[in-house]
Amino acid sequence: MTPPQRQRRYPKPPPAPRQPLKEGERRNPERMFVVGGDGGARADLDLVTLIVASADPPPSATPEQTALLRLCTAPLSVAELSAYLNLPFSVVTVVLTEMLADELVEAHKPLVRQSVADRSLLEAVMHGLQRL
């Protein structure tokens, strides 16, 4: 009978230096955050601000912008964009701020709790829940 065999471990070799790309070759991007703009003010975006594409991706679009525009051909919340793109919320808001300025997307602000209560809004939500 053969005893179980331990696998010997070796120190991990350092990662091989990257080969320069050949002409026309494309490297798969790693997860990356493109922080565009000038680091200035961000658009006022809520988790449930609905985003809808208002243009096709321009040739100058970054991969994030292209992916985002494909996702929001129908309205989608910033939270859903963050989930599908696997990007933190704040990163998505940075990308969207630039896209809003370039008029690539439109944003529909959420209805928030008001100091003057909107009873018709509450009633609409109640009717919707009752149908569940």
């Binding site: 988790l47 919340s77 963050s82 599908y84 919320f89 709790r113 509450l122 109640m126």
Partner: protein, 206 residues
């Protein structure tokens, strides 16, 4: 799922797409300790498979900086599950399940303030984990109801005993629910909505 090709970025399934008429959204936050059933509740009423959004919170200047001169900061990633219910062809409701013991949540701008209200989900085996979040909601004037997720082996207390233990005023609803059941979770959300409506009627909503 494969991210290698940009053509395969995952998106909503066709049936998970909102209609073009969707114009505005509202949100409700479901808050409670770890394992209390927030995601279960979100999932039982959501029309989409619950999704996860995350945020990286950077903290500066916590404790003694024993790494003086270096560039290190403490970054914490907080993740939150959410679901969605289409109310009308124009209006969408989002439900966020948020761990209440994480004070980071209260740094997330507008998460609570912009919400219609909150459901505090509690487990009677660990009542004390909900104390802090209830206090924070009170401080911020976020209207909430309390739902007791009825676990089979959890101690059962009369509602009034719970109200006393949680030190809640008589007008705040406390209900029992089974977060696994759609009808029960829906009824809990209805309790919150009726409470918000009563606040609106009396003009107490500030």
């Amino acid at each position: 799922m494969d991210f290698k090709d940009s053509d395969t970025i995952p998106g909503p399934r066709t049936e998970d797409r909102l209609p073009q008429t969707a114009q505005a959204a509202v949100k409700i936050v479901i808050v409670g300790g770890f394992g209390v059933g927030k995601t279960t509740m979100v999932g039982s009423v959501s029309e989409i498979r619950p999704l996860t959004t995350e945020e990286t919170m950077t903290q500066a200047g916590i404790g003694v900086d024993d790494n003086f001169g270096s560039d290190t900061k403490t970054a914490t990633t907080v993740a939150m599950d959410f679901g969605r219910i289409s109310i009308t062809e124009k209006l969408v409701l989002y439900l966020f399940g948020t761990p209440g013991q994480e004070r980071f949540w209260f740094l997330w701008n507008g998460l609570f303030e912009g919400a219609l209200g909150a459901v505090v989900l509690i487990d009677t085996r660990r009542l004390e984990v909900s104390f802090d979040v209830i206090g924070r909601l009170e401080e911020r004037g976020v209207p909430f109801v309390v739902a007791v997720n009825s676990f089979p082996d959890a101690p059962r207390y009369p509602i009034e005993e719970l109200r006393q233990a949680l030190d809640l005023p008589p007008e705040i609803p406390i209900v029992e629910c089974d977060a696994r059941r759609r009808a029960s979770s829906r009824d809990t959300l209805m309790t919150l909505m009726r409470f918000l409506h009563s606040l609106a009627m009396t003009g107490a909503l500030t």
